[in-house]
Amino acid sequence: MIELSALWFWIVSVMVAIYVVMDGFDFGAGVLHLFVAKTNAERRQVLAAIGPLWDGNEVWLLASGGALFLSFPKVLASGFSGFYLAMWLVVWSLMLRGISIEFRSHVQDLLWRSFWDAAFAAASIALPILLGAALGNVLRGVPLDANGYFEMPLFTSFRTTNPVGILDWYTVLVGVFALVAITAHGALFLAWKSEGPVQDRSAALAAKLWTAVAVLWVIVGIGTDAVNPQVWLALPHRPLGWLFTMMALGGLAFVFYGHAQKRYLLAFLGSGTFLLGLLAATAACVYPVMLRSSLDRALDLTALNSSAAPHGLATGLKWWILGFPVAIGYIVLLFRIHRGKASAAGEGEGY
């Protein structure tokens, strides 16, 4: 029983991490496209790179939500209702991002396209900040009461002590870190998939962004220690935490090596590994806590006290084992079909 809930904790964590890596490069492309793509042809090159992929990438969010729903319904219920307004900001931004990609190509008009370009950028900037801040909240803790629920304003005094808001200095810091890391990730994706000026500009920005990522990583690490010392205290006792931290460091090394060698696919894989390792290491250090109570640690929602019943978890595991490789297969298939440099199709034949 304990094994099943631990397994589902990891299934949910890994699916969320895959979501961040996959949709992360879409966000990154959205943040960057106003800067790295100046002309309509260049913008369409960026959209051609992510156009066939973004919708499938976003499905990872819905699929991880589904996995969380069936395995830890209490965590989903508490977290989603507690972060009510922030959740809707995420959803509205996701909606704006989706339609700005899909609607842009339908009308060949400068104003129409400029509008959707700006909307695409705005939504892509908001999303990593919000999702990063959400992770910050999970790490810092929320005022969970004895019923397992909490309510929080969007912000209070930006201090991390109660009464605390969804946005405080720490969660904003994590949000900014997420924005920079995701943008850096997207820069490498564009450096890999595009050519010409878009590639040159993306590669040049990637170098600066990744230096910022490395610096911010240290600052966020110190900040995390200030709001939740248990994360770092747990690390020495968590072999998986070590493994994933090494993975993140290794990924970072490949980012810089690949970038220096102009082998952008290698660098992009490195950045994906970095993000996966970082999130998985965090999961390993906070396990089994899923939502930390800032009122009383005994009120934490954990993988052990919030999971669904074993029969449901075991049943879900059976179809998940069938479905997960298929989902990975779609990614492989899509990347194969759209292999090589992305080039804008003729008007009316692509994004």
Binding site: G56, A63, S78, G98, G312
Partner: protein, 448 residues
């Protein structure tokens, strides 16, 4: 204003009704596109591929709006219905999780191939992309219908020691008899919507004297599919659905018909106004025995009225439920008549020249949307006061920590957002219809 439940319910009702305007066309068009691509592949005639290409463009816009308005639905389980999610997540999380893993990935992967891949893939593989999208969208439809069916008629669960529902029998839950009947009813209705839309575009072009052959393909396909599926919506699927309601939710059946007194030879009310405070139906026009027959297959069977049920079991909005049900049934009947007449005229070779009928077909397309909306209102209002029939009341399912004002705030946000989204959708689809169909080689010219 002070009652949070009202705002939670209104937000869910508004966002689900708006959302479902799009998937019904997606699911229905997916089947009709498969049909057109199949005809193109079999006959080798480009006119079918031209027709499919036009509808795939509409499908793309429609699908995008369906996707973005679908995201809030997934989130609302947790944000607005937290206590329901905590109570039932161990069971309904299964179907929602499977929908993501098995249906959404398939749909999202094949969508780009269908919309942009015709040249790259060639005719056969492009047909397979259409087939995969049809399969994915109908699979998604099943998972979500099965989730709703559990709320209508819960099976395959036990109650755990913590008071929450647990999965007990996966196959009983997934193959809920309610889900099977409801699924076929909902899917047939989706094809009716798509058939009416297709016929309307064909009629519009025919009336304007545009795109002669394409107009005729759309009219033929829309009218014949419209007749076949309008009949399927009523019989056997609607009939089955009615018998399920009679069996498992007799109080909902009584409310749908505004029936207060019990008794044999129960009548169906063609018209009339439920008067809940005096417990009677005002000014009715009735046909005796038909309700007994619809519900139990015999004209003399006893059908219970609301008076035989405790007041706290009654659906909470009986008047609305009654009208929703009657609008659905009335429109469904008219659809069979309209499409039956149109098919007859098609068979006689006079459809394309009968302008009065073309006018009606052109203007009829909103009505299937109204019928599906009122159909879902019948299902959901009939389930009240329960969020899960007999297990949890709706009032117990909302998020306790979200205030009424907060929910009203996000509802206002949705209202504005969806108004703009609706305008954009109409603008873009209107443009496609104005452009008309485009042969493969000069799409660029057509979309300047």
């Amino acid at each position: 204003m002070g009652d949070p439940l009202f705002w939670h319910r209104l937000q869910f009702a508004f966002t689900i009704i708006f959302h479902y305007l799009f998937p019904q066309l997606t699911m229905g068009l997916a089947l009709l596109i498969v049909w057109l691509k199949w005809r193109g592949l079999k006959t080798g005639e480009p006119k079918y591929d031209d027709a499919a290409r036009f509808w795939i463009r509409v499908f793309g816009i429609n699908f995008a709006v369906g996707v973005v308005t679908g995201i809030p639905m997934e989130f609302q389980f947790g944000t607005n219905w937290a206590r329901f999610s905590q109570f039932a997540g161990g069971v309904i999380g299964q179907t929602l999780g499977m929908e993501g893993l098995f249906a959404f990935f398939l749909e999202s992967s094949c969508l780009g191939l269908l919309i942009w891949g015709e040249k790259k893939l060639g005719p056969r593989r492009h047909f397979y992309a259409a087939l995969a999208l049809w399969f994915g969208s109908w699979l998604s439809g099943y998972f979500i219908t099965a989730t709703n069916a559990f709320m209508q008629h819960p099976v395959g669960y036990t109650v755990g020691s913590n008071g929450a529902l647990q999965l007990a029998n996966f196959w009983a839950f997934v193959l809920n008899p309610w889900a099977l009947a409801q699924y076929l009813h909902v899917m047939s209705a989706a094809v009716v919507t798509a058939a009416f839309v297709m016929a309307a575009v064909g009629a519009y072009w025919a009336l304007k004297g545009l795109h002669g052959e394409q107009a005729r393909i759309n009219l033929r396909t829309g009218v014949v599919a419209g007749l076949v599926f309008s009949v399927l919506v009523a019989f056997p699927t609607g009939d089955q659905q009615g018998k399920q309601v009679a069996k498992y939710q007799p109080v909902a059946l009584a409310a749908m018909e505004g029936r207060f007194e019990s008794g044999p030879f129960a009548e169906i009310n063609l018209i009339g106004q439920p008067n809940v405070s005096e417990r009677k139906l005002d000014n009715p026009i009735r046909i005796p025995g038909v309700l007994s027959f619809i519900a139990y297959g015999s004209f003399s069977k006893d059908v219970k009225g609301l008076n035989d049920f405790p007041r706290d079991q009654w659906p909470t909005a009986i008047v609305l439920l009654y009208y929703a049900f009657h609008i659905m049934v009335g429109l469904g009947t008219l659809f069979i008549a309209l499409m039956g007449l149109s098919t007859l005229m098609l068979w006689k070779g006079r459809l394309f020249t009968t302008r009065s009928l073309l006018w009606i077909l052109m203007l009829a397309f909103p009505f299937p949307y109204i019928a599906t909306t009122t159909g879902w209102m019948t299902a959901e209002l009939g389930r009240q006061p329960w969020i899960i029939y007999g297990l949890m009341r709706t009032a117990e399912g909302s998020s306790a920590t979200v205030h009424g004002g907060t929910a009203a705030f996000t509802l206002i946000g949705f209202t504005g957002l969806y108004f703009v989204l609706g305008l954009l959708f109409v603008f873009l689809v209107g443009r496609e219809i104005a452009h008309g169909p485009a042969p493969l080689h000069n799409q660029e010219v057509a979309h300047d």
